[in-house]
Symmetry: C2
Subunit: 307 residues, 2 copies
């Protein structure tokens, strides 16, 4: 298999794939990253065409692990030099990548992926072989998914120590807007409102403010790329949050009560704490109705641990 982009995610993936016994090589645009990967004993190069031709000759699985802005150019190179290889990706938004894949004419060979792992650090040097251990790895179940490629992508995730959650692109994007992108916008908002109270307010801040603003410490460029790359789904989640907060504001002003928001929020957090994690078994990719059954299992919180 072949990993295009050797940053935190791609670099960790190359390490984990090799440890799992796979023949895997990587590409990075930057010579420095390639040298760093080679110094650590990995097979890497900065000649994209050569890397893709090698993939094409062995029908290797290609993993796109570049930032969203570089996805189109990467897909164009794959379409030119390795059009018959199976392709997946690890980009944090799925709808936009699927559209780009379709524009590049590679939809038949593509199954999207998104490992829910990472930190605010970036680059080859911060990658680790265990980054995906017990992480959730979404594997796409859009209409027309090729069961053989789906199986390859799911096996890669499992080989890396992750568990697989099947989901359609739009479902994935809606979910991460709610549980990853909205939290960032709320954290930024809280940080600004607290800071507006000056040193007195910041000096009184304890756990609730510290935890509630933690991700506002992430690099603005990364937060913007995540949030703006998932605009449509994030707008839906943000509008829901605005309605909840606006209603709470009215209730507090008019009746003095915060009961509706506080009780619903507490019940919601309990459902998160007590969520039932269960294992998906007995669905064979390619058998009749397998895509629908995978999607349904993903919606109900199922995870695949073996295939």
């Amino acid at each position: 298999m072949c990993v295009l982009g050797l940053g935190l995610i791609g670099g960790s993936l190359l390490r984990a794939a090799v440890r799992a016994g796979r023949t895997a090589w990587g590409y990075n645009r930057s010579e420095a990253s390639v040298r760093a990967a080679r110094d650590d004993g990995f097979d890497a190069g900065s000649d994209l065409v050569a890397v893709l031709r090698r993939a094409s000759e062995s029908s290797a699985l290609i993993v796109i692990s570049v930032p969203m802005p570089a996805v189109d150019a990467t897909l164009a190179a794959i379409a030119e030099h390795a059009p018959n290889c199976p392709v997946t990706d690890v980009v944090s938004v799925k709808g936009k990548v699927a559209e780009a894949v379709a524009r590049a004419g590679l939809a038949d060979r593509y199954v999207g992926g998104h490992p829910m792992a990472g930190t605010s650090a970036s680059g080859w040097s911060v990658g680790t072989v265990d980054l995906f251990r017990e992480a959730v790895w979404v594997v796409g179940t859009d209409d027309g998914t090729d069961p053989a490629i789906w199986t390859q992508v799911a096996r890669l995730a499992l080989d890396c120590g992750a568990v697989v959650v099947p989901a359609e692109s739009t479902e994935h994007d809606s979910a991460v807007a709610r549980i990853s992108h909205l939290p960032h916008l709320l954290a930024e908002t809280l940080a600004i409102t607290g800071d507006a109270g000056g040193p007195l307010a910041l000096g009184l801040a304890a756990g609730s403010f510290r935890d509630g603003t933690r991700v506002a410490g992430s690099a603005p460029a990364l937060v913007r790329a995540m949030c703006e790359g998932n605009r449509d789904a994030l707008l839906v989640a943000l509008d829901e949050a605005l309605v909840l907060l606006g209603d709470a504001r009215l209730a507090l002003g008019e009746t003095g009560s915060t009961a509706a928001l506080v009780e619903a929020g507490h019940a919601a957090r309990l459902r998160y704490d007590e969520q039932d994690v269960w294992e998906i078994t007995g669905i064979v990719p390619g058998e009749d109705g397998w895509l629908d059954r995978m999607r349904d299992a993903g919606r109900r919180g199922g995870r695949l641990r073996r295939l």
Copy 2:
């Protein structure tokens, strides 16, 4: 000194005061709590009149450590049985308590306090002698503050291992609305919006959602009491947050950018991380202009470590 209410805060205060070498006794309405305190070797009773008469005979400092709804009745008892004792409190809102104190005719003998410590647990049994160690303890600086009583209250806080931040009631309430009550409302909102994504969304949730919703796990009654007890100041903070989020929603929808919110939020969080904690020295309670100087120091992030 005499502690009225032996829950988490009052019970911890009684323990810490005794360890600091003070003669201290407590009152609690519940016989069971009184027995528990006595079993742990502390001087406690459930006869409020007897406890207050004893305070009156020794001019003891009285600490009100009951929930906000019980404050008026407690003040009425103090006014009847120990009207000449100095009085402080540890209630989490200050403006409302100051109003109740004025209604009870005890304003001359009162200096408010608020130790920024506690957990979601409650009752004598969860108290600890070290609850206030290195905690911030706000001591009130409203107009007309008696410097001798202020010094008594500040010394109590220091004896318990806390640092003292001087602030007026309204400033305190505005600050905690921003850094303690707004975080709760945002956490509830995030919990509901994430949960609306169903098991798929909750199953993909990682650090940003977990941290951003943590305080939504607090008991709704406690969250409501805090937030609703500080309504006016919380409405100001909530309106600011709504404007920030509303503007961000418009910008994301119209231009696709989250730059304004994300960059301001990141800068604000950095100011929180890098806040300058400095020690207040050289202000003697009672000397000319001491109240103004204390307030100014509190506003600029100063803390008193000795007196």
